[in-house]
Each structure stands twice: as structure tokens, then as C-alpha cells.
């Protein structure tokens, strides 16, 4: 029987049913390929990383038992593509990824330039700060922010998806980045 529920998929993974990988691919390929493509750009790299994603799912579940399988797989894909990018230091960044990093650089407080920003945040639990920030965004902005900076969806695509103008999406994201900028500054961890 075709398995469609996440619980059944996870159960099959716990039962070490290799056949489930094909069904995971059928169900979630669109999501993780989209993430891989946005970061890596190259079809060849995407193709190679596809199997890495499935392998990572196989190796990590169990022991992990994700509540949201789609998000979990997207996370794995994101990490895999970032690692691949780091591994191949001469690799050219995908345009979409470059643009996202450029936008995120606006969030970095001015006094952190020239410093390794994240090093200073290690003790300040940057992850928790970001989570709190995202949770406190209004619904629309939160979805736009996560789709843009986690899933790397383009502004044009977001506009189309939600029936906004590209300008509206850009303004909302800009305001969110400004807000994050201020929060990071307020944390006073920066030099």
C-alpha cells in the first residue's frame, strides 16, 4: 500500500524498510531539490546531493523522530548543500543564494563589521534569538521570512504565490531585516 502519512514513513524508517526511501523521494523531492538548487545552482551538484539527503534521512531516523518530516528533510537538505558548498570552496554560488546572503548581511549590526560576528554570539544562543525573532513576526511576514531565508524562495515567486506585488514582499522582508538588525544590536554582543 502506498504510504502517505509521515507517521507511517517514520515507522517504516524505524523498521529499516529500505523501500521507504523511494516513497520519501516521491513525496518530498520537490522540497529538498528546491532547497539544494537554490544554494548549489549546479544540476550536477543537486543530483549528487539528492542521494545524500535520502542517506541522511536514513541515517538520522532513527534515532531522531521528527514531528514535521517535510521541514526536517528540508533542514537536512539545507545543511548538506551548505556543507557541500564549503567543501568545494571554489564552487560558484548560485545566484539566488548570493542574493539571500547579501540581504542577510543587512541584518549584521554595523559595529560587527570586521569581526567574526558569530563567534561573539556563541554564548548568546543566536539560534534562540533568531527563533524568538521569527516567532514574534506577524503571520504574513513570518511565512515570507522563513520561505525567503530558510527555503530560499525568490521574491518573485513569493509575490506570485501569495498574490502580492514584488514590491510588497520586498518591503516586508526589508522591514523584517531591519527589525532583526535592531535586535542583534540590542543584544550588545557585538563589539
Amino acid at each position: 500500500m502506498k504510504i502517505t502519512k509521515d507517521e507511517q514513513i517514520i515507522e517504516a524508517l524505524f523498521n529499516r524498510d529500505e523501500g521507504i526511501l523511494e516513497q520519501i523521494s516521491n513525496k518530498y523531492r520537490k522540497i529538498y531539490v528546491s532547497v539544494l538548487r537554490q544554494i548549489l545552482g549546479s544540476d550536477e551538484d543537486v543530483f549528487e546531493c539528492e542521494n545524500d539527503v535520502l542517506l541522511a534521512v536514513w541515517n538520522s531516523v532513527p534515532p531522531n523522530k521528527p514531528n514535521n518530516l517535510a521541514a526536517y528533510i528540508a533542514k537536512l537538505a539545507r545543511n548538506i548543500s551548505i556543507n557541500r558548498f564549503k567543501y568545494n570552496t571554489r564552487q560558484k554560488r548560485a545566484v539566488g543564494y548570493t542574493v539571500v546572503l547579501h540581504e542577510l548581511s543587512e541584518c549584521i549590526p554595523d559595529n560587527s563589521f570586521g569581526k567574526d560576528y558569530t563567534e561573539h554570539f556563541k554564548d548568546k544562543e543566536l539560534g534562540q534569538i533568531l527563533t524568538d525573532f521569527v516567532r514574534n513576526l506577524d503571520d504574513e511576514t513570518r511565512v515570507l521570512f522563513v520561505r525567503r531565508y530558510f527555503y530560499l524562495e525568490s521574491v518573485g515567486s513569493l509575490a506570485k504565490r501569495y498574490g502580492f506585488t514584488e514590491n510588497k514582499v520586498s518591503v516586508k522582508l526589508y522591514r523584517a531585516r531591519n527589525k532583526l538588525h535592531k535586535i542583534l544590536e540590542k543584544e550588545e554582543v557585538i563589539i
Partner: protein
């Protein structure tokens, strides 16, 4: 360093909790985004597992809809008409004598035509406020409406424009039978906001999926099938977005969904927007099918415009709506032939002329046309100031007849013919007559190519306008199980009282044994919200397949009871026989199952029939068929019957 910091920030965003990530993932359209805020303010309702299961079953079915009718569509060889909605064809000779609204496509299109005829062709009148934010509430329940000639169809906004299709391989060109000029109407109405494309005798309509203040997007996921609204998420999806600016349509964009990257690709299947013909009106108009049919059948008493002069059997149905003129000229300012100058229009074919259109004219009409032909053999035709042919038709005028020739194809001839006349729809649709052909089609749907059955088709008069509404009599909701009658809805305790023994039962689902020791499954719910114990629940569905699916062959479990419904319907009935007994269902769902481990592929087909009783004012009777696709003796096996609520 700035770049590295941004990189680190990006990486840390990867640690966001999965619930946030999932929310963003699941909020994948405007409707969901807009409803996010609303959800948070709603009172939290704890859904009982029984109801939850019931709902999930319904939703599951709803998500994967493949319309069987689209597969069964009769495609006449003479005229390849491939619209999934209404269908019609003309033979070697056609006459516009009768007009019938047999689909929502036509209802939508001709409602707009009627509305436009009443306001003339001024671009705007009686605008009631701004182009409102599109009504995102999609109530697919409307698809179950029992539409008949008196059912009011209300449009609150409508627009009309034209597009031109260049690419014969494009989606619309395939649906509409080729390239060329296409009429388009968009309405906000009391069923579903929809866009209808009309090319000649072919229609394609799909429903709104999202929108903004200045745009409406329609998705082919949801389309029109006769009088049904069909959701089919398994097919390739196209989107049409119509852009508005005040009282004008300013453009239309089409895109094909690229599932690999999750966005629409607007570089393919382009369509051209014809800017000269568009009108957007914010005005409420209500019509019925009966009114439209009378109107477009040219019955004078329905015509609002009484100035139309009819000298004979005028069949210019659409043009006869108003006192607007039919122009046969190089420009609309030249020779004008009025409706009253044309006696009839006929589409024909012969070896000498190929496909041609024959106009029989009054004397005045002949003189006017002769004058025009003297100037040039190449005549454009305008109807109500709309250019419908563009300088490629040669006319000859002999006696009272003008012959329009040089149509390059039948489709081209039909396109002109249908704009000059009302539609001669024969109301015919093909049906598959046996199980094998059904399975053959189903196997194609699931790419299961082990079947090579010969297709048998038969003409079938499809009574769109009168879907059978079950009569309100108790026997309609009775099922005889191993000789014992139960009547839906029945409480679990009453089922037990009739001698059925629960072998396993919890809230929602369970199994019962008959006195003969045969088992069947039940689904239950507390739809009156008065259950104090699980015995108070209502049985809303009985299944007669039990554990049969565990068998590779998909054969029926031998311990199953005999069962029989009203009109002697039992498990051996075929889908077609069932339809003959109960009429066309109001909605059909089809879902495909696959179990690669045992190489089993099969389908579940559900028919829904609307009914109403004092106890269940808005209910459905539904029956499930399970065609087993890889059985050596395939059948479409009725295995389940139940009721549900709106």
C-alpha cells in the same frame, strides 16, 4: 568578514524549529496565508478522533480527484473536440436551430453575453465599488448543487475579452481544438469564480485559486465538467492570471507549474491578449438556464430588444440578441447587413468548396453583399462590431445564397460558423460500456500498461441538467446484510439489537459479524452530537472488503456477507449499471492505490449522490467501487456504501 557573518547567520537560521518551518511550507498559497491570522483567533475545537478520521477520509478523497468523465469523453473522429466539459460536434451540415445550456461553461459564457447585450458594448456601466479583493472562500460544496433550468445563476462581476492562441501544442489549444481566436469571460458568481474559454463549439473553464485586488488567478486543478466542479491535483497544472485596471482587463498571463522548483513557468505556452475587446462590469445579473436557452434560441418574447426585425428563419442567435448589426465588410463602417437581411446560416462541406459557410440572404442582403464583393473578394466579418474573420474569405453570391469559402480546416469553418449562429449542440457524450474498457482507461491514468483491452464506446445521452436526486424514501438508505435490513443512519446499539455482533469496535471504526459468521467493517460518527457512549454513535458507512486487500490478487474475502442495496444493487453491479439505476452522480472521486511490495495497483472510485431527508437535510449517499487493475479477472467491485453530511 561581512560575507562570512551573513553566511553564519544563514546557517543559524537552519536551526529554526520545525513547527515554524513546517508552517511556512504548508502555507503555500494566498488563501492559507490569509487564513493564518484567522486561525489563531478561532476557538480551539477538539475534534473527536471519529470525526477526525471521517474528515480525513473525505479530504483524502477530495485531494486526488480524477474525473472519470474526462477519460470517458467521446471524441468524434469527424471533429476532434477535446474539451473536458461540454461537448458537441457538427456533421457535414449544421444549422443553428436549437440552443441548449448543458454545462457550467455555457451557463457562464452566455450569462455574460446576455449581460453584455443588455448594456451594449460600452466598456463600463454601474460600477459598484472597486475591483474587490477576490473572494477567496472556495466552497466546493457548490459542485453538488442540483442545477436545473430554474436554478438562478448570479454574476456580480463579469468581463469579456479575447485572446489568440499561436501554439498548437499549448494547453488551451489542445483543450479548445486548435489555435486561433478565443473568447474569454471571467465572472464572480454564486457558484465559483470562474474563467471560461470558448473557441467555436469548444469550452474550457477553470476556477479561481487565488487573487489580489487587481488580479484573479485560475488553476486547472479545478475545472468544469458539465455541471460539476472537479478537483484534480494529480494532473499537470496551468494557471491563468487575468489582470484588471479599473474597468478594463489589461492582460492575461498563463504559466505551467514546474514541480521541480515549485513555481510557475511563464515562458511556456504563451497566449496573446487581444487588447481591443475587453469590458469589465461590476453589476449583479441573475439568469436561469431556461431564460438563456430561450434567449439564445431567438425567441422574441424573451428578447429585451424588441427592435430586432425577423423576416424569416433567422438563425443568427448571438447576433440576434440586440439590434446590433452583422457587418460583412472590410471595416465595420462599410457594408452592413442586418440580422433581418440574413435568413439562415449553414456550415457545409463538399469537394468543390471544401469547408464553407452558406448564408441565405434576403434580396436587400444580396444587393448589399454584391456591392461589397465588387470592391473586393476578401471580406472581413464583424458581428456586433467584433471582428471574427480577417480578410481571408472569398464570397460568391448566387441567387439568394452567399458562399464563404477558403476555410483551411473544419475547425476554422466552425469557429466562424459558431460565431454567426447559436451552438448546435447534440448533447452527446461518450461512455465506456464495460469493465475492461474502464480498466483500460484507469490503467492509463496510473501508467499501468499491462492492459491492452479494446475500447468500446457508445453514445450516451448525458442528462446534465437533471442529475437524479434520490427520492426521500427509507429504502434508499437501506442495506440488506446477510438477509437483515439496516437503514441509515443507524446507531451502533441498534445494529447490535438486530443481531449483528461487534467483534472489534472503538469510536469511529469497527467490525461486526452477521449471524452467519461473516464479517464487515463499519465507520461511525456522532453526527448528532448526542452520544454518551460509543454505542450511541451512528454507523455511517459499511464496508464489505474486510481484509481482502491483504491478498495479492485483491480477491474478495470469502467470509464476507452478502449485501444488497435498493433497486437490487449488489456487489456485482458495474459502474455503468449503477449509473443507469441512480443517474449521474453529483460528484465522482477517484484515487489510486499502489503497493509495490506486492505489485498491486488499484483504484477507488466514489460516487456521491445528494439527498435530503427531514433527519439529514444535507446529506450524501456515497458508494465506493474498487476496480482491481492487476487481477486476472478484473472487475469494478462495489464494496462500500455510506452517508455523509455537507
Amino acid at each position: 568578514m561581512k560575507d562570512r557573518n551573513a553566511q553564519n547567520l544563514f546557517e543559524t537560521l537552519g536551526e529554526l524549529p520545525e513547527d515554524i518551518l513546517n508552517e511556512a511550507l504548508e502555507t503555500d498559497n494566498a488563501l492559507k496565508l490569509h487564513s493564518l491570522g484567522a486561525k489563531k483567533t478561532q476557538k480551539i475545537i477538539v475534534i473527536h478522533p471519529v470525526l477526525k478520521r471521517f474528515v480525513s477520509v473525505c479530504v483524502c478523497l477530495a485531494i486526488i480527484v480524477i474525473s472519470l468523465l474526462s477519460v470517458w469523453q467521446y471524441k468524434p473522429q469527424e471533429a476532434p473536440i477535446i474539451n473536458e466539459g461540454s461537448s458537441g460536434s457538427v456533421g457535414s451540415e449544421v444549422k443553428g436551430e436549437k440552443f441548449e445550456i448543458d454545462s457550467l461553461d455555457k451557463l457562464n459564457f452566455y450569462s455574460v453575453k446576455k449581460a453584455i447585450s443588455e448594456i451594449g458594448f460600452d466598456p463600463l456601466s454601474s460600477k459598484n465599488g472597486e475591483a474587490s479583493l477576490v473572494n477567496l472562500t472556495q466552497n466546493m460544496n457548490n459542485s453538488f448543487k442540483n442545477i436545473n433550468a430554474d436554478t438562478p445563476f448570479t454574476i456580480t462581476m463579469y468581463c469579456y475579452f479575447k485572446i489568440y492562441l499561436d501554439d498548437p501544442q499549448g494547453f488551451l489549444a489542445k483543450k479548445l481544438g486548435g489555435t486561433g481566436s478565443v473568447d474569454v469571460v471571467v465572472t464572480k458568481n454564486n457558484f465559483e469564480n470562474m474563467i471560461t474559454f470558448k473557441k467555436g463549439d469548444n469550452y474550457y473553464s477553470c476556477l479561481q485559486d487565488s487573487g489580489t485586488a487587481n488580479a484573479m488567478s485560475f488553476s486547472t486543478y479545478k475545472y468544469i465538467e458539465g455541471f460539476k466542479l472537479v478537483e484534480n491535483y494529480s494532473q499537470e497544472n496551468y494557471e491563468f492570471t487575468v489582470y484588471f485596471e479599473g474597468d478594463k482587463v489589461t492582460g492575461i498571463k498563463s504559466g505551467r507549474f514546474n514541480s521541480n522548483i515549485g513555481i510557475y513557468d511563464y515562458t511556456v505556452d504563451k497566449i496573446k491578449f487581444v487588447e481591443n475587446y475587453n469590458v469589465v462590469v461590476y453589476q449583479t445579473k441573475t439568469v436561469t438556464i431556461g431564460q438563456l436557452e430561450k434567449l439564445f434560441s431567438n425567441e422574441k418574447d424573451i428578447l429585451d430588444d424588441t427592435t430586432v426585425s425577423v423576416d424569416g428563419p433567422v438563425v443568427l442567435g448571438e447576433a440576434a440578441l440586440t439590434n446590433k448589426t452583422v457587418c460583412l465588410a472590410e471595416s465595420q463602417k462599410d457594408v452592413i447587413i442586418k440580422n433581418s437581411d440574413i435568413l439562415s446560416v449553414t456550415g457545409k462541406y463538399d469537394d468543390a468548396n471544401g469547408y464553407y459557410i452558406e448564408l441565405k440572404l434576403t434580396e436587400k442582403g444580396r444587393e448589399l453583399l454584391k456591392e461589397s464583393v465588387k470592391q473586393s473578394n476578401f471580406i472581413s466579418i464583424y458581428v456586433n462590431n467584433f471582428l471574427i474573420t480577417d480578410n481571408y474569405i472569398v464570397t460568391t453570391v448566387v441567387n439568394d445564397t452567399a458562399i464563404f469559402t477558403r476555410f483551411s480546416s473544419k475547425d476554422e469553418m466552425l469557429e466562424v460558423y459558431n460565431q454567426l449562429t447559436v451552438v448546435d449542440n447534440k448533447n452527446k457524450i461518450g461512455r465506456i460500456v464495460d469493465n475492461e474498457s474502464f480498466l483500460h482507461e484507469m490503467s492509463k491514468l496510473v501508467n499501468f500498461d499491462n492492459y491492452n483491452f479494446s475500447m468500446e464506446m457508445t453514445n450516451y445521452v448525458y442528462d446534465h441538467k437533471n442529475p437524479k436526486k434520490l427520492e426521500n424514501k427509507p429504502s434508499n438508505y437501506e442495506v440488506k446484510i446477510d438477509g437483515v435490513n439496516i437503514t441509515f443512519p443507524i446507531r451502533v446499539k441498534d445494529l447490535t439489537a438486530q443481531g449483528f455482533e461487534p467483534v472489534r469496535y472503538d469510536f469511529g471504526i469497527g467490525g461486526f459479524k452477521t449471524k452467519q459468521g461473516n464479517e464487515f467493517s463499519v465507520y461511525c460518527m456522532d453526527f448528532k452530537h448526542d452520544a454518551k457512549t460509543k454505542e450511541d454513535y451512528f454507523v455511517t458507512q459499511v464496508d464489505f472488503y474486510a481484509d481482502a486487500l491483504s491478498g495479492k490478487s485483491g480477491m474478495v474475502n470469502p467470509t464476507l456477507p452478502d449485501f444488497c442495496l435498493f433497486e437490487d444493487i449488489n456487489k456485482d453491479i458495474t459502474i455503468d449499471e449503477f449509473i443507469k439505476k441512480l443517474g449521474e452522480p453529483h460528484k465522482i472521486y477517484q484515487q489510486t492505490y499502489e503497493d509495490t511490495s506486492i505489485e498491486l495497483r488499484q483504484s477507488l472510485v466514489t460516487f456521491y449522490y445528494y439527498f435530503s431527508t427531514p433527519e439529514i437535510p444535507n446529506g450524501y449517499l456515497y458508494v465506493n467501487f474498487r476496480p482491481i487493475l492487476n487481477s486476472s479477472s478484473p472487475n469494478n467491485y462495489l464494496f462500500s456504501v455510506g452517508i455523509s453530511l455537507h
